[in-house]
Amino acid sequence: MLDLFRRYRFLFLAVLLLLVTVILYSYNLRKKTTTTFFERAVLTFAAPFQSAIDSTSDSVKGVWSNYIWLVDTRQHNLELEKENAELRARLNQMSEYRLENERLKRLLAFVDDLDMAALPAQVVGEDASNWARTIIIDKGTSAGLKNGLAVVAADGVVGRIIKISTNSARVLLITDASSAVASLVQRTRTRGVARGRGEDLSVEYSLRSADIQAGDLLVTSGMGGIFPKGLPIGRIETVEKDQYGLFQRLSATTTVDFSHLEEVLVIVGNPL
């Protein structure tokens, strides 16, 4: 028996070891969540090495991919830059469309309130001098416009057409020194004439006894036959009364911001 064991010693030990490992495995199968001492020791020992290897590997990988293996990177970068520029341009365009849409919606709402036939036009130019206040719009006689027609924006009165060609027209703004618009203070119905002063308006011929206060809305009176009655012109800014005299001195800021005017409406017809 002993001879037999000696002869097959290696085989017996191998089978025994195999059995032990199988039993160990079988035992550990039932205790999946338990970490053995051995496992803990191995993990503890291996952890710093693993970290070191991992960081070294990352570094090498980083150096390799960032500094050595750069075959397609430049091309990829150029493509991305191009795509980025295209997307930015598209985004700007979308933003421009959105703003234009908002402005046109306001203009359309204004047309509905106006109850008159009106033609939208784009502002394409300004006056060549620094003292005159005129703008050029992109509609002319071919669109049915003619001299003298009133031009308005969503915020109020802009001016009137003074010169016209086939595809463009020049509009005299109400802020021009030669412009005068018959006006009314909305709250008190006091009459006056709004004259341009470049950036703002002076309101002349308003009776001294009339009650006018800063902030009052100035609207068109409808006299003169160019502007329909009740369109906003501006807001009273200052009120000055001398001790003597028939009239008071008023200044007003326009309701329309002429420095940012892009679309206007030309009132082409009679009330609808």
């Binding site: 130019g125 001098s129 620094n130 003292w131 005159a132 206040r133 020194a177 030669s178």
Partner: protein
């Protein structure tokens, strides 16, 4: 005749710049009066008859792009041109500082004449209220524009090999320094 058409085309380009490009970047008082600079240049460089005819067309172009009554700038520019023609016989027109002094004088005279005609003839009394605050800015931008145009002219002449007038002095001076 070629020079005459050249001035007209240049004036049209200047008018387009003043009406469609400058408004995008500058407020009214900070926009240079390029056609005025052209009038001054024509007054210094061209024979009297050609200068007067060209100036009338330049004034008409400016009137077409400005205000509402044709004739205002015709009158103003013609007055300025006649003053320049009178001065050019007395002074050394080859001097570029003289041109800059003329720009200052021309801008002041332009504003003075505009105020006069707008107040006396057109009954636009608030014009003074608009013109007066803008004079300092107009002086600055017109001077800057004149300097830029002179530098541009010198470069163009160097490119095309032309050496005449006061620009030749600038070119010769730079060549001498370098």
């Amino acid at each position: 005749m070629r020079r005459f058409f050249f001035y007209l085309i240049l004036a049209l380009i200047f008018a387009l710049l003043q009406t469609s490009v400058f408004p995008l970047f500058f407020s009214p008082n900070w926009r240079p009066s390029l056609i005025l600079l052209l009038v001054l240049y024509v007054g210094l460089r061209e024979p009297s008859l050609r200068a007067v005819v060209t100036c009338l067309f330049l004034g008409a172009i400016q009137d077409s792009f400005c205000g509402h009554s044709v004739g205002l700038y015709l009158t103003v520019y013609l007055t300025i041109l006649l003053i320049v023609l009178g001065l050019s016989e007395q002074l050394n027109i080859e001097s570029s500082p003289l041109l800059l002094a003329l720009v200052v004088g021309g801008t002041l005279v332009e504003n003075l004449l505009l105020w006069f005609y707008l107040t006396v003839l057109a009954d636009s009394a608030p014009a003074l209220h608009i013109l007066l605050p803008g004079v300092p800015q107009q002086l600055i931008v017109n001077l800057l524009a004149a300097l830029l145009l002179l530098a541009l002219l010198a470069r163009v002449k160097r490119l095309f090999g032309l050496r005449r007038g006061f620009t030749s002095l600038i070119v010769a001076g730079r060549a001498h320094v370098s």
